[in-house]
Amino acid sequence: MFLVHLWKEWRDHRMLVLAQMLIVAVGSGLIVWLTGDPDTGGEAQRMLAPAVLLLASVTTLLLGGDLVAGELRRGKHRLLSRLPDAVPRAFLAKVVALVLSGVVAAAVGLLSAELVWRSVGTGGLDLWTSETWLGGSAWILVAFPIVAVWTLAASCWIRQGSLALPGAVIVLGVVLLPFAWIVRWHPDIRPLPFDLVAVPAVIGVAGLVAAYRSFTRGLRFGGGGASAIAVLPLALLLCVPAWGLGYRRLVQWTTVRPEAQSFQIGEVLLGEGGRFAFVEARNSSDHWTKPPYRTLAVNLRDGSWRDTGVSWEDGDALMTPAFAAPDCQYRTVAIGGAGGPRLFLDGRTGRDGARLSTSADRQAGQGRLRELARETSSLTFDGGRKAWFHRGVLEVSGDDGQVEPVPWNPLDRPLHPCGDGFLFRPANKSSGSPRYFDLNLMTQVEPDWPWWECSVLIRKDRWIVSRRSGDSAPVLWNPLRRTFEEAPFLEKNDRVIAVLGSGDLVVGAPVGDGGKERLTLVSPHTAVRTRLLFEDLSPAETLRLPLGRSAWTTPEEDPVLVLDSEEGQGYGRLDRSGGRIDRLLIRMSVYDRFVACIDKETALIVTDDGHALARARFSSDEVEILFPR
């Protein structure tokens, strides 16, 4: 029975179908003729297939409008409705006829394009590449069946074949409006592979049901308008799962779920007093692209938390001035996103200080942020000039107190604070040449050493470039002469680990042939070397500064350094009063890290592979998960 209806469709529309094939063939040939320059090669070829498929799809959909509307207009629907089982079969035949004509039209179009390409170019048209079919062509192939079924539905309602496609586009526009809204407000959101299958499938099935019901029950519903009114609510209801999925993705994108496995902690700042932590977090594995970080205020005493409502797509929503206070605890935490509201949180209570959302407020907020950066910056040059970071830009107060933004090319990357000075990463690692920047002289320093062997510590008036391996003794960069000089107070195998507040250096020096390293305090002014009352480091252990920053300190200003060992990366607190190195969490994953010292004995760390905040005790395996609980 189905075949007889398919035959009927062919006989009913064969002239239209032949005209469509002619249009597609000529149109495809013209597209190649007008735009296809064989010399342009791949790019032109990649665009041809989508263009031809689009032409084939549009002509097929225009034909599809007449498949149903023509039947209704000629009054044949009444004939079909009185024959046993004819209406469903007729509908199926129309759907198949539409798909077949689309497939044939696409084949005719591609064949025509190929032939014209051969006549105007050299060689054949290479359309069968993954670039061609994974780009625009794939979207057309997905969209075509969806638009086709909604066109059939619309033609039942409008009953004018030529208006069916615009009608379908309008209805689909309504159906897709929530998704457009989501993308409008969250342009970086990307669907998951499941969504790319599920949403088109749901909307396609809804369109198919709408078309089927409108066609098979159309006479009972009465006219086209009545049919639309009767069927559209059901069709829209069937779209609810797709909208629901979109809403779910939106919620996943804009909220954090600490209990989920995908929860990932980014930057963490510890508020003053150690009661609150301010956390950048997101659930990243639910998406192709990473969602924006949300900033959470976490009460470390009871694990309660709240979303401050501020996010930043690029991360680094926590905008507390980059010049860290020595104890790494913050009195005021400023958070905000590009163009979004700015929020100041009280570092002791975790409560909102002020929320700035209007442009005028933001302007004022910029001034407040700059003030915070200036106030909390610990870097003061000779002559009293201060430097600080504000929104990723290094700024220096001028002689007259005016702020001077520092031109920052070619490094083009943030600077990292380091004790009394700065530690800079090389601008271009691939070049193999380290590039450091002297802030005093605004010039680059280029020792001829591989960057990965170097560490740089900065004092007020000198750089100390320390080579991590090899026989070279550490050298000094003289910013006035712009040359490297031997450091008379350092010995050949010294490894500079840290610069203390007094200006003295903590140096690691080998002990005998055992490979052990002894920590020594060196005064650069007197060259006096004092053995620190710390245990010697084993040969497998290396104590160093954290990458790109100064040492953390306890409230008593004992430095906390990174301790590399055979067992992994951990941390070591130099307990000056006790004369020992207190080790902390030797086994940590790549996402786990030290945040700050809460008090002399404990520290806040990110643990559980970046999923949790915990309080860890030095010289102990004791770890207490604080968030999420």
Partner: protein, 245 residues
């Protein structure tokens, strides 16, 4: 007659289109193997009753059974067992009579192409001419052949003579008479043509205002035919019934 054997049983059938009542509590029954003519003026509800029988319209109230089945709930089964000729031939105009039979055949398991061709020959229906080129009478006869080629248990004819010229009228009438006499088929023919009614009816029902206002049984018809011109008497009866109604 056994009531359960009636191919059409209508009990209290109502059909409203909005506020307009087309059929109002209609009780009607077709006897097996007879030609029943449903007489009524335009708008009396004849076509609506036929559509209810075909299951393309749903009654507003009452109970309708066609061949013992609900024509809406069991539409496919009912439609396979009945034949229908509309007032205006509505086959696709590019189809020939042969195409039309070919199109109908898969819908009706009992459809006999051989029988359709034979009937077409006997009724002088051109098989190779598209419907758009057939005369109205030829097209109606082709529809009639298509309607009976699957040997339906009930044949519904919805004013097949409407719009026919006198010659075609007689031609179609002869075709119907020859067809219904060929088998023990129950026929319901709606018309407002009293001449046709008097020539083919075994039984006549008069429909007006959505109700059967008068029924004439076969013996009554025979009696009246013997006593004079039946069409004239029917006209009188109709006028009288409508006034009473």
């Amino acid at each position: 007659m056994n009531r359960s054997c009636s191919p059409l049983q209508a009990v209290g059938i109502e059909k409203h289109f909005g506020k307009k009542v087309v059929l109002g509590r209609l009780d009607f029954e077709l006897p097996v193997g007879q030609v029943t003519v449903l007489l009524g003026r335009n708008g009396a509800g004849k076509t609506t009753l036929i559509r209810l029988c075909l299951g393309t319209e749903r009654p507003t109230g009452g109970q309708l059974r066609i061949l013992g089945r609900d024509p809406v709930k069991h539409a496919s089964e009912v439609r396979r067992r009945i034949g229908f000729v509309p007032d205006v031939p509505d086959a696709y105009d590019w189809m020939t009579a042969r195409d039309w039979f070919r199109f109908l055949r898969p819908h009706f398991p009992g459809f006999s192409m051989k029988r359709a061709i034979a009937l077409s020959d006997s009724l002088a229906v051109p098989l190779q001419t598209p419907f758009r080129a057939l005369s109205r009478g030829q097209a109606t006869k082709a529809m009639l052949v298509g309607a009976v080629a699957h040997a339906p248990e009930l044949l519904l004819l919805d004013e097949p003579f409407a719009g026919l010229d006198p010659l075609a009228h007689d031609d179609v009438l002869r075709a119907i008479i020859s067809e219904y006499r060929a088998g023990e088929r129950t026929v319901l023919l709606t018309t407002h043509d009293l001449e046709v009614a008097s020539r083919v009816a075994d039984r006549i029902a008069m429909l007006d205002g959505g109700r059967i206002v008068r029924e004439l049984a076969p013996d009554e018809l025979e009696e009246r035919s013997a006593s004079g011109s039946l069409p004239a008497q029917l006209r009188h009866e109709m006028a009288e019934s409508v006034e009473v109604g």
